[in-house]
């Protein structure tokens, strides 16, 4: 913190015209070009000092016995060996069934989220919805995005119980937050041309949405939907932890019973399924977006 922080304030008697101003004046007289005054380094230095203080304080105060880190590598190797040296493949059929259940949860959550978020994002877009509604919806989206979906699931399960439906609903609610935000941003980002064209030929508000906005944003929306599905596949595995079923449920119980050879199989299933779905959905997303671009350049 002894860093040479602030450039000393200008000489006491005349604070306003500092050294830079004097140099500029001289430059103007001699016709030379004076270099611009150095920008103040005070703010960046204070900022980095604050960041360092926060990080050091966090390291210093967090309740960890750092000694445990020393045997961590050998422990990790030991557990990895327990998990993957002799995987118990007899659990595979049940694991696949539970994975399907998780994926079904994710899919249903995505579909419900799309159905709710699409009209809401239209209402929340500047130029399409009334201003008070727009502000309220944006606040709702922000609040939903700030709450982890597992907490949303805890709230919802008081009505629906510990069923996969709870998971799907939690994912749908969370999806409304993200899809709604991406949606209104995409709608606000489209060019004015198509909208004005529809207005110019006498289209109503609904016509503008259907023929001006919707064709423009559909590729982006499709890409968001697929991306949200990828997120939901991951999250649905997590939601199992509170007992709504699916692969996460199975994984926690086998971890608690310390059946490592089964846990290894479950992790392999999670990784393979997630990577496969990501790859398929990513390819589809690229196809959608590139198709949109190719169409856009056509005369």
């Amino acid at each position: 913190m002894t860093a040479p922080s602030a450039p000393a304030p200008a000489p006491a008697p005349a604070p306003a015209p500092g050294r830079g101003a004097a140099r500029r004046a001289r430059g103007a007289l001699t016709g030379a070009v004076a270099p611009p005054p150095r920008p103040s380094r005070l703010a960046p230095r204070a900022l980095s000092a604050a960041v360092v203080v926060v990080v050091v304080a966090a390291f210093w105060s967090v309740d960890i016995s750092w000694g445990r880190l020393a045997d961590l590598p050998s422990e990790v190797v030991r557990y990895l060996w327990l998990m993957f040296s002799a995987p118990d493949w007899s659990a595979l059929p049940e694991a696949l069934r539970q994975t399907w259940r998780s994926v079904a949860m994710a899919w249903l959550g995505t579909v419900l989220g799309i159905l709710v978020a699409t009209p809401l994002s239209l209402l929340a877009a500047r130029g399409h919805g009334p201003a008070p509604v727009r502000g309220a919806l944006r606040l709702v989206f922000a609040v939903i995005r700030a709450v982890p979906e597992i907490i949303i699931a805890i709230v919802i399960l008081s009505v629906t119980g510990l069923t996969p439906l709870t998971g799907a609903l939690a994912l749908a609610v969370n999806g409304v937050g993200t899809l709604g935000k991406w949606g209104y941003e995409a709608i606000e980002g489209i060019g004015r041309g198509p909208v004005e064209a529809v207005r110019a030929v006498g289209g109503s508000g609904a016509h503008v949405l259907r023929w001006g906005v919707w064709p423009e944003v559909l590729p982006a929306f499709g890409s968001f939907w697929l991306y949200r599905f990828e997120i939901n596949v991951r999250s649905s595995a997590v939601l199992g932890l509170i007992g709504v079923g699916g692969i996460g449920d199975m994984l926690t119980s086998y971890t608690q019973y310390r059946q490592w050879s089964t846990v290894g199989v479950l992790l392999i299933v999670v990784v393979v399924v997630t990577v496969a779905i990501d790859a398929a959905s990513g390819a589809l997303r690229r196809r959608i977006m590139e198709g949109a671009r190719a169409r856009a350049v056509q005369p």
Partner: protein
């Protein structure tokens, strides 16, 4: 779609120039219909009894009162619970900060190794990317669940889970940014005789730093959100408390916890978006 549409005769306009012809309807409109049909079919499959998400509307109707009571409790936060939430909330923030710092240190070299422009060795690059693809596929809470069993409860498994999760994200985003960056400066440094290490240190690293800080900020936000629930599996922070109030059905206390997470996340989002504006 028909051939007649495509090869519409060019009618001569008044000045002898061809009049504008409406463009042909794009071919392959059935594809969209097939897509929607497939979506409907899969949705029906996920709802099928026995194999998918069972929707038991009767149970919902029966539990409706119960749920309504919980919602009422949620709307009346128990403010007297606040003192007990301060400690876990601080631990959540500590875990997030420590994990972000460690992830930053780990992912700086890994990002350079994972990008084509800064690591010409295809095998090493492929290995780094492959491992990180696998790392990224596992959600943070599953890491935490397994790590708690490995190293015991507390903040340590939570931090480790967050670090694993963060490194996966940061390295992917930063290495993509490195590959998208202009290669002129890199080529100049190489032409001046620099080794790959020198080139990376003097050109690539300064070039990527703003984006790198940006991703770390993003990851810090993710970490605060995630570390508030990692405790559900015993990995420290706010989640331990969530688990406790959940098992006692104290939804009034849960609502206070949700409010606190909400405030912290929204404040952090505001701060980081201000920092981001300065950065980029």
């Amino acid at each position: 779609m028909s051939a007649a549409d495509v090869a519409a005769p060019v009618r001569p306009g008044r000045a002898g120039r061809p009049a504008p012809v409406p463009p042909a309807r794009p071919a392959g409109r059935w594809k969209a219909a097939a897509g929607w049909a497939a979506v409907l079919a899969v949705t029906a499959l996920t709802l099928a009894p026995g194999i998918g998400v069972e929707v038991d509307l009767g149970a919902i109707a029966r539990n409706w009162r119960n749920g309504a009571d919980k919602i009422v409790a949620l709307l009346q936060p128990d403010w007297s619970f606040f003192p007990r939430t301060v400690g876990p909330l601080l631990e959540t923030l500590q875990m997030a900060v420590v994990a972000t710092a460690v992830a930053g240190i780990v992912s700086l070299p890994l990002s350079l190794w994972a990008a084509r422009t800064t690591n010409p060795h295809r095998l090493l690059r492929g290995a780094v990317r492959g491992v990180l693809n696998v790392v990224r596929a596992v959600p943070d809470l599953l890491y935490a669940a397994v790590l708690v069993a490995m190293v015991g409860v507390g903040a340590l498994p939570g931090i480790l889970a967050l670090v694993l999760f963060d490194v996966g994200i940061v390295v992917k985003l930063v290495s993509e940014q490195l590959e998208a960056a202009d290669t002129g400066a890199l080529e100049a440094a190489r032409a001046a005789g620099g080794t790959q290490l020198q080139v990376n240190r003097s050109v690539a690293v300064p070039d990527m730093l703003p984006g790198f800080w940006n991703q770390l900020l993003y990851v810090l936000e993710l970490n605060v959100r995630a570390s508030s629930v990692l405790g559900l599996v015993g990995a420290g922070g706010m989640g331990l408390l969530i688990d406790a109030v959940r098992s006692f059905y104290r939804y009034d206390q849960l609502s206070l916890i949700i409010l606190e997470i909400l405030v912290v996340v929204l404040v952090l989002e505001a701060v980081s978006s201000a920092a981001r504006r300065r950065l980029l």
